[in-house]
Structure formats: C-alpha cells, structure tokens
C-alpha cells in the first residue's frame, strides 16, 4: 500500500515534471531579442541573480572541497581532482593541465588534460574567481539540450594560450532547462580514460531501474544553489557538503517482507540491489600502449557495465587512505557500519622509494613517446619536487557501487546464505561456526518453498 502511494506520488511528480519541461523558459523572448552572451544573459533582467558567483564556490568549478571523512589528509586543505592522485587517474588538473601534445612520430598534435571537462574556458580555470571567471562559466553545457559540441574544442588563441570553446549560440540558449542525463554524462561517462571506464555504470533503461522509470541524474542528485549532493564513495572525496542516499526516498521499511527489512540496519540497499559492476578493472601507468593514432595511453583492462562482480566490505563512511590502498573503514563490531558493495580497481604506477608516496604524472610526455618516467619528471618539476626515486608498485582502490540498480535481479536469500554465496562471511568478521549457520539453507528453506508454491 505504502509502495503504491509512493508510486502514485512519483507518477504525479513525473507528470508535473513533464509539464514543467513543456513550459516555456521565461527568458525566451529576451534571448531571442538579445542573443546569448554567457552568464550575464542568465542574470539579466533580474533572472538568476548572483548565480555565476555562487557557482564559482562549487565542486564543479573548484574540483576540490574540504574532505572530512578521509584519513591522512592535511587539515584545512581542500582536495579533489584539482590536486589529488590515485592510480585510476595518476595525473590531476595541476600536473596534467590541458595542453596541446605533439607526437614526434606523426607530427600531429592533440589537446589533452584532466581539466578538459572543467566548465570554464581554461583561461578562467579550476578554482578561479572574480568577474572574468564568472563570465567564463559554460552554463549551457549542463543546461542546454541543443548544445553543439563542435564548439567545445580546445584551441590556441593568438597569444598561445589554450582556450576551451563553448557553444553560446541563440539556439543552444533557447533550449535551456533542467539538466538531462546527457548533460551529466557528457563529462561523467568519459572519466578515467574512456567511455564508462571509471565507475563502470551506464545510466540507461536497460541497466538501471531508476532510468527505466524515467528518472534523470538530478532527480536524486538534486542540487541546492548549484551544490550537488553526492554519496560516500571512498574514492570520490570532494563534495559540496550535501549527501544523497537511497533512504532519501526509500525510507524505514522499504520491503513488504519483514525479513528483508531486518537486513537494512546492517546491509546497505546497494548490497542486494546492485549485484554487478563494471568498467576498468586494472590499469598500468608504468607501461603505455601505442594506439592507432600513434599516441600512447596507459595500458588498461576494460570491462562493460554489469560485466564484473563487486566485493563486499563493512563501511562506516570514513576512508582508509594509504599509498597502496584507498578503501572503506568499518567493522562488524561498529554500530554505524553496514556491508556495502564496491568495485575493486587495481592500478600500477610509480611510488617514491624515499617517502613511499604515490608519484603523480604529467600525461603529455608518455602520451607522445610512451616514456612514463618522463611524465613523472615533468609532474615533479611542476610540483617543485627535486629528489625522488621512482619505483613501480600497485594500489588497490575500492570505488563505491551506487548505480546499476535493479529490482528484478536483486540478490535474495540464497545468493548470500549458501556455501557458494557472494558474501565471504569469514572476511567480514564472522566466526567459523557463525559462517556455518549463515550459509545453511535452513535459514530460508521454508519461506522459499512457500514462495515457490505460490509462483507455480
């Protein structure tokens, strides 16, 4: 009954949303008359006042924020893709800044850099402030449904500065609205060196029940003043201080079955409802592979969305952060911990033998010649590191697994409570006798037998 009510509310919301989409943008006439000049147009005539300034203080612009839940970080310092490194992305906005890379084998060039997704024009770059930065914001890349991506290309201006283009056409501006899945995925699907590699999920009706029900990213990641809520992925550190969770909608006792509801206290929703993961499983930044265009890329083992299985661990939403491991903290004994699924990724890169720390890499040298150590040297120079001794090593990363949600294929009793079940109870802190009991069909036999009878 409760689920039905929720469904009715959702359907009503979707209908209202549909009506809202169909509603004409109040600024249409102004844009038709005056064209589009960027954020100043959005803020003209008292519409969206102060929005550009407000946006400069978000993670999407700064690529960094205070990170209170990760151990081993400098207090007071902000972290994010601006400055952090790990072995999925061994560079960052600072050491692997967007630039034109020359390939000596072909004489051709290409533009590449971690900040190529930044919604500015690169002259006003990650974390920049002031009027010029406000004017450089590319509002339409997130808000226009008719953005022409031929305009969003990097090029050099007359003074040799690398500039990222934007579509500021009237046609794009007239198509503004709430961001659709496409607006988000333009950047988020290509992270980590290729399509759907990093987090390994596709938000489509075939792969996610929310997408199947017509929902879009911002239905859950609903922004407040351009601050966008995120979950507690152990490897996604920066946040706007707002959080999103399944429980925001699916509260209290989300199942009809009381036994399933009993699990909610210690088992995260994702554990049963996201039984698969995908994307890159391993990457080697010490060994770059030459592609057809004669440029090099780090050697990467790639899998499709839903092609791999997660690993399960206790997680209290704080993060163990060591040079060779980034992953969840938590335990069975700790009341705030729950069992979550994680996408496991292993990356190889260079570590400094002197400090044990992971070294960062400027991708330009290895991309051009395959010389990974030249990339480390270039990054060290940028950061002012004079002495280091690079040695190859591996790092294990636990990525949060919070998309690819399924209702029909959710795990049920026997998937976990059987000898060949998906949970490794011993590794999760259960004694041998407990494991024996927890992996026995007696737990669910009568109930499943009854269900089987009803099904047939």
């Amino acid at each position: 009954m409760r689920n039905r009510s929720r469904l009715a509310v959702f359907v009503a919301a979707m209908l209202l949303a549909g009506a809202a989409v169909a509603k004409e943008h109040p600024g249409k006439e102004y844009i038709e008359r005056n064209g589009y000049q960027g954020p100043s147009t959005c803020e003209a005539q008292g519409c969206h006042p102060g929005t550009a300034k407000e946006f400069l203080n978000t993670v999407h612009w700064k690529h960094a924020s205070p990170v209170p839940n990760v151990e081993g970080l400098e207090p007071g310092k902000e972290y994010g893709m601006k400055n952090r490194i790990y072995t999925m992305c061994n560079g960052n906005d600072i050491v692997n800044n967007l630039k034109e890379i020359f390939n000596p084998a072909t004489g051709k060039t290409k533009f590449s850099g971690c900040n190529s997704c930044h919604p500015g024009n690169h002259i006003s770059d990650v974390g920049s402030v002031g009027k010029e930065a406000e004017n450089a914001i590319d509002c339409l890349i997130c808000h226009a449904s008719k953005y022409d991506f031929r305009q969003r290309r990097a090029s050099e201006d007359k003074t040799g500065r690398v500039v990222m283009g934007q579509d500021r056409s009237k046609e794009a501006a007239l198509s503004v609205g709430r961001p659709d899945v496409k607006n988000c995925m333009v950047c988020h699907e290509s992270a980590g060196g290729g399509v759907l590699l990093k987090r390994g999920f596709a938000f489509t009706k075939e792969t996610d029940v929310h997408a199947k029900n017509g929902m879009v990213c911002v239905d859950c990641h609903a922004s407040k003043n351009h601050r966008i809520p995120t979950g507690f992925d152990p490897n996604n550190w920066a946040s706007d201080g707002l959080r999103v969770s399944c429980e925001d909608c699916h509260q209290g006792t989300p199942h009809k079955d009381g036994d399933l509801n009993r699990h909610v206290a210690r088992i995260a929703c994702q554990t049963c409802h996201i039984p698969r993961t995908g994307g890159a499983i391993a990457k080697d930044f010490t060994r770059w592979t030459q592609g057809a265009d004669k440029f090099y890329e780090p050697t990467t083992l790639k899998k499709e969305a839903n092609e791999t299985t997660p690993v399960y661990a206790w997680y209290n939403k704080t993060v163990r952060n060591e040079p060779h491991f980034i992953g969840p903290k938590g335990s069975r004994e700790e009341k705030g911990s729950r069992i979550y699924p994680f996408k496991i990724f292993e990356g190889k890169a260079f570590f400094d033998k002197k400090t044990g720390n992971l070294l960062s890499m400027d991708f330009a040298p290895p991309m051009a010649t395959g010389d990974a150590l030249a990339g480390v040297a270039s990054a060290a120079k940028t950061l002012g590191i004079k002495e280091y001794e690079p040695v190859p090593g591996w790092q294990t990363i636990y990525f949060g697994s919070t998309h690819l949600v399924t209702k029909e294929k959710a795990l049920t009793c026997f998937h976990c409570h059987s000898r060949n079940g998906v949970l490794n109870f011993r590794a999760l802190g259960y004694a041998e006798q407990e494991e024996e009991k927890l992996t026995n069909a007696s737990i669910y036999f009568d109930k499943m037998a009854e269900q089987q009878k009803e099904d047939w």
């Binding site: 022409d148 031929r150 290509s190 290729g194 265009d293």
Partner: protein
C-alpha cells in the same frame, strides 16, 4: 510402430533443419577500431545513420549503420564527429554492417 518411427525421424529432421537455418541466420560479430571519416544523418529526428570508419589496421573504409538512440544523439549534437577514433562492434544483416557497439576510444 513403423509410422511412429517415421514421425520421430521427421521431427528430428525438422529440428536439425531449424538448427541449421538458425546457424545460417546467426550473424557473425565483427570488431574494429577506426577513425570517423563521414557521418550521414538525415536530421534531428533521424532514426538511423551511416558512419564511415577508416580501419586503423587495414586502412579499409567500412560503412556502419547506426540505429541506437544514444549514438544517434551523439551524432546529432556532434559529441561524435569526423576525426574521432571509434571502437566498434557490428553484425552483417541483409548486407548492412549494423552497429552493436559504437564508442569513442578517448576519455579524459
């Protein structure tokens, strides 16, 4: 008895024929990496498009028919354009190379 045997043989032959026919109809999946040299799409409402890729290994030009909405949308707003390197899987159906997977190789 003899009639029953005939029926069984006929049934077995039918199953065999169906299996063989199925085998013939089952298209082989082809894979390639290539640069986009041309995209032909008839407008914003197009439900199909043709993309010509230059195979990076052989240099051959291969024309791929694309029908999936996501890739068509990327053609329409030029997220995929001429010069982009593509990893593609396709099946030959009725003389056409029909795309099953069409993604840019590059990321950030």
């Amino acid at each position: 008895m003899r009639k029953a045997l005939k029926v069984k043989v006929a049934a077995a032959m039918t199953v065999l024929l169906l299996l063989l026919a199925g085998g013939v109809a089952m298209a082989e999946e082809m894979k390639m990496v290539g640069d986009v040299v041309k995209i032909e799409i008839s407008g914003p409402d197009a439900k199909t498009a043709k993309a010509t890729l230059k195979d990076t290994k052989t240099g051959d030009l291969v024309t791929i028919t694309v029908n999936d909405d996501l890739t068509l949308d990327k053609f329409k707003d030029h997220r995929i354009g001429v010069g982009d390197e593509i990893r593609c899987k396709y099946e030959v159906k009725d003389g056409k190379n029909v795309s099953k997977y069409f993604r840019k190789t590059a990321g950030c």
